[in-house]
Symmetry: D2
Subunit: 338 residues, 4 copies
């Protein structure tokens, strides 16, 4: 770390910083510039956060972090890519993994119809919300445990592993029982209490990027999971909030490519939430795969206009079949007939 | 609500929408324009979210909400301003309420020194974090229950009511026991499971605006609390994320003024988080009060450069005294001496 | 357009709006809802901007635009896709058009070396800045007319058409003389005086999206060109400003797909500016093509670390060759040898 | 400046950077850390932009600027605050300067009525647009020279100095002839050709912040004016683009306070554009003054609902009188009568 002194810092202020750097377990290295002094804090075992606090000391302009603050998620630590195995489906192993299903589980019939259809079109896993985080308390909040049972049935009929969101620490156990992968929704990305609980579960975790999270904050949220003991973490870019209102969010595909550079964890993209527009799902799915995404999360509903949530960004069954064909992911006709 | 048909919608598509609007419990009112047809869904008892889903129906361009989606927080429902009483201190009653204290409770000594000092300078309540939401798992995470006990002691010595954050559903009971007002942090604004639990507590709730929450989303988060039964809600603007990096966040004071227009709930401003820079706390405190804020949340630490969190945006004790003087909130010298 | 009256609008206020709508050349269509009245302004020949101003009238909550405000750029007006012919190279005709070259023209040697190399690697056109918009007045501002002459020489040696930016109305004539396509930079997207002049030139215009322009604002900027008489307009997405700082901008590829839906104009993507990171150019180039971009704008420099501008987001000659290969755009080895 | 080498930089790569730093006219100062090497470029006379380009060199992670890139606008260079004299009215001298008038000059009658009214209410200067930058080419574009003549007449009748926008380099001379202060609109903040021309005029320049400009970019735009010879520059914060749509822009008052810290130039705030809502003009005007703004820019129209532009964010004459009273800026009744 580097402490950048202000141009009118006094010698006493500079000495004070040098002393504090040493107190915090680092060596201090002073560089005397033309306009100002900068002081490096050198070493790997000091207390970094105390150096950061020096920004509050007199005569200090800025404290600049030189190293990335994340460790376990970093490719510096681990070159080999992590492959997450979700009941036999491998995420990050090279094939594009498509996870499809309704935003909300609304009924057994709706879910089973969707599950069989997405399976026939080539999906690798089934998604469906049992617990729904909704902006308004007056909107449909999910069927809860009943939905988990429908998901289990759909999974046993189709063989597709299940991904579903856990919103509450209180639901971690029950969701762990039913889900093959447990999703942390975007709005909970920095719900650290929930992350700490999920660090201890036996199932992989799908960690969505928060709508205003930087890549650094996202990776640090994943770091909570790894540091707590759960190394089966899959990231998912689902769009960030920007000034643009024509799309629901701005799908940040460069973040997908950048995370692949910085981290060994696999990364998915969610073009349904990322755009909020059904017509943009196919082009953005192709783009995500081209950018290096390990898979896709796609909302599919038998009748989007009757969906209890997210209809406008859901494909219908035919639309999903066409998407899979355009991605080259649909099974050959013969295979389907067989 | 208004369903805006696309310019090439067919008569069948239009008829379908009319029928669906009726099914959802509304009257359909068709307006035939020069270029396109728009259809109003009229009535107050229909199922609104099903109308929204019609954006997914063929021939539909957009579904436009006409009414505000929030009810109980709205001034349309309740003209009189809510005054929240926090153990005798009234927020929203006209006086500026200043809540001051350290970001994190670090030790009994640090807290007591701060509490006595901010009391002497005229603060109305004491803040201090026991459970800390930190971006990195390697940063100081708070002293937990021990900190709650220190807060209680500081409160009993100074008479200042206590505000502290509750991060986890699992901690709601213990925090309720110690705190006079329970804070929902910005990153948990849409942690709906936590909100639902806090709707049932006996203490007032301080709801911070999320760093990427629109005013509408913020008020709907408050609606969760009111709809669940807790009407003692205080809002707090603490800055939003924007492209500007010179300040930690962008303090949106227009949101303070706008919320006062839309809602009967009191609103505070937090210039410490809002700017991240100690030198901006005083001008932005004055600006917040001028914009109509009912009070301020200010981070104060006896030695900011040794703070375990947020030092650069904390005032020291002398700085806080000067702030209170510049706000005209410091007690007269005589009063202090007495 | 729809005028949304407030819930407590008086009958007089409603009558006043009806009257004003008629004065502005529309029919007024009143829809009486449960909570409020909305009034449609129907017709195609009224004065729309005067209806918008009614938001300022007493009793009015909002004025909602129903139709898109752009006309000539819209696919509603013109279904067939525009193909822009830049001295024989066709943009929007189906093939991916790659425009490559240095950010700034720095010398004859630098430009000629780059031009021959990008030609050999399969580029369709040459880009290079003669006039440079620089954030700081102390940075290199471009070689001006001298650079235009170097570009002309490079073009005559390689046969590649030339794209270069025009920053100033005063330079329109000289740039028109040398360039095959004239670029409007992102910071000038809403320099309407410049757009009005470029509406009258004989050359195609490349219109970059402003860093904070919505898709709607961008298309309306293009509308200035078409309305003024220049129909040869190529759009270019180059990233928008968001809170994310890990990349220089956020490349909004959904905007590329959306513009293809809304407009008949061709659209390029610029992953150099869009990301600011050399390592992200290749994945984002592939993603842009997959999202439907008609071509790419790529910064290439023989020695990026000595570039006078934008080195970190420039490929070197070898890197560009590899990009073209990975896009399947590099000429076959035999062809090159021939 | 500091060059931050990557953790796996080779000794050759490090040596190369040291050599390049020396070539660019700096001394190289190497700091060997635990994980990586950082190299300071020390000196005041080297070529900084060439050091920045080293981010493109092999083995380099980042190049970090330590000093602020602006000079002439900086308080480091000039401690004394600049006072800009606009025909006798002093901006930055301590008194709040209120500049009021219509968004667009629409007619002689409209302007004269407004001018006399705002003068009577205590305004110090008159604003009014003759050339209007409009998002759509189909909106009212201003009366041009005719409007300048009306402004001149209004000024001679009321004694109020005139502020009006210049959009085009071609209009600089004519606007200079009529205006007392020449405004650069937000969308032209980085129209560097225009800035270079305005650096040479005899009149003060009012430089609005671009809707996506950082404080640093804004000050560097001002640096263009000062470096070119015009030291009479007044800055104006007018709101930035964010995800929030409830207000037209987000008025960034912390930027006002921060600019006062960084620069000696005076700063105004424009709550009309900053919020887009008439009801927010008064609270945000008070807040701006409390934050340290040297004055305000307020849109006023005799009949906002008939305004050809920006009606919803304009006060009517009575509303402006009330604003001035609430700011304590209205002349005493006696004085008005006299």
């Amino acid at each position: 770390m580097i402490v950048n002194m202000s141009t009118n810092a006094t010698p006493d202020e500079i000495d004070h910083i040098i002393e504090r750097i040493k107190e915090c377990g680092f060596q201090a290295h002073v560089v005397q510039g033309a306009e100002r002094t900068i002081i490096g804090a050198i070493g790997s075992s000091g207390r970094r956060s105390e150096i950061e606090a020096l920004r509050a000391a007199p005569g200090v302009d800025e404290v600049i972090q030189i190293s990335h603050p994340f460790k376990l998620v970093s490719r510096q630590l681990r070159q080999a890519r992590t492959v997450v195995d979700v009941r036999g489906k491998k995420i990050g192993a090279g094939d594009v993994v498509v996870i499809a299903g309704p935003c909300s589980v609304e009924s057994e019939a709706q879910l089973l119809e969707t599950a069989h259809a997405v399976k026939a079109s080539g999906a690798s896993m089934l998604r469906g919300g049992a617990y729904k985080p909704r902006t308004s308390p007056y909107d449909f909040q999910g069927l809860g445990v009943e939905a988990l049972r429908f998901l289990q049935k759909a999974s046993s009929e189709t063989g597709l592993p299940i991904v579903t969101e856990v919103m509450s620490e209180a639901d971690v156990e029950i969701v762990e029982e039913y889900a093959d992968m447990m999703q942390v929704g975007a709005r909970n990305m920095q719900n650290f209490s929930l992350l700490r609980k999920l660090a201890l579960v036996s199932k992989p975790v799908l960690l969505k990027r928060g709508p205003s999270a930087t890549v650094k904050e996202w990776l640090l949220a994943a770091e909570y999971l790894l540091a707590g003991g759960n190394t089966n973490v899959v990231l998912c870019e689902r769009g960030i909030k920007t000034f643009e209102t024509a799309t629901r969010n701005t799908l940040d595909l460069a973040a997908v490519a950048l995370v692949k550079e910085l981290s060994h964890l696999p990364v998915l993209a969610d073009p349904s939430h990322g755009t909020g527009m059904r017509s943009l799902i196919t082009p953005m799915s192709k783009a995500a795969v081209a950018a290096g995404a390990d898979g896709l999360l796609i909302e599919v509903h038998p009748c989007p206009e009757r969906a209890l949530s997210d209809g406008p960004q859901s494909l219908d069954l035919q639309g999903f079949q066409e998407l899979m064909e355009s991605l080259g992911q649909a099974p050959a006709r013969e295979a389907k007939a067989a």
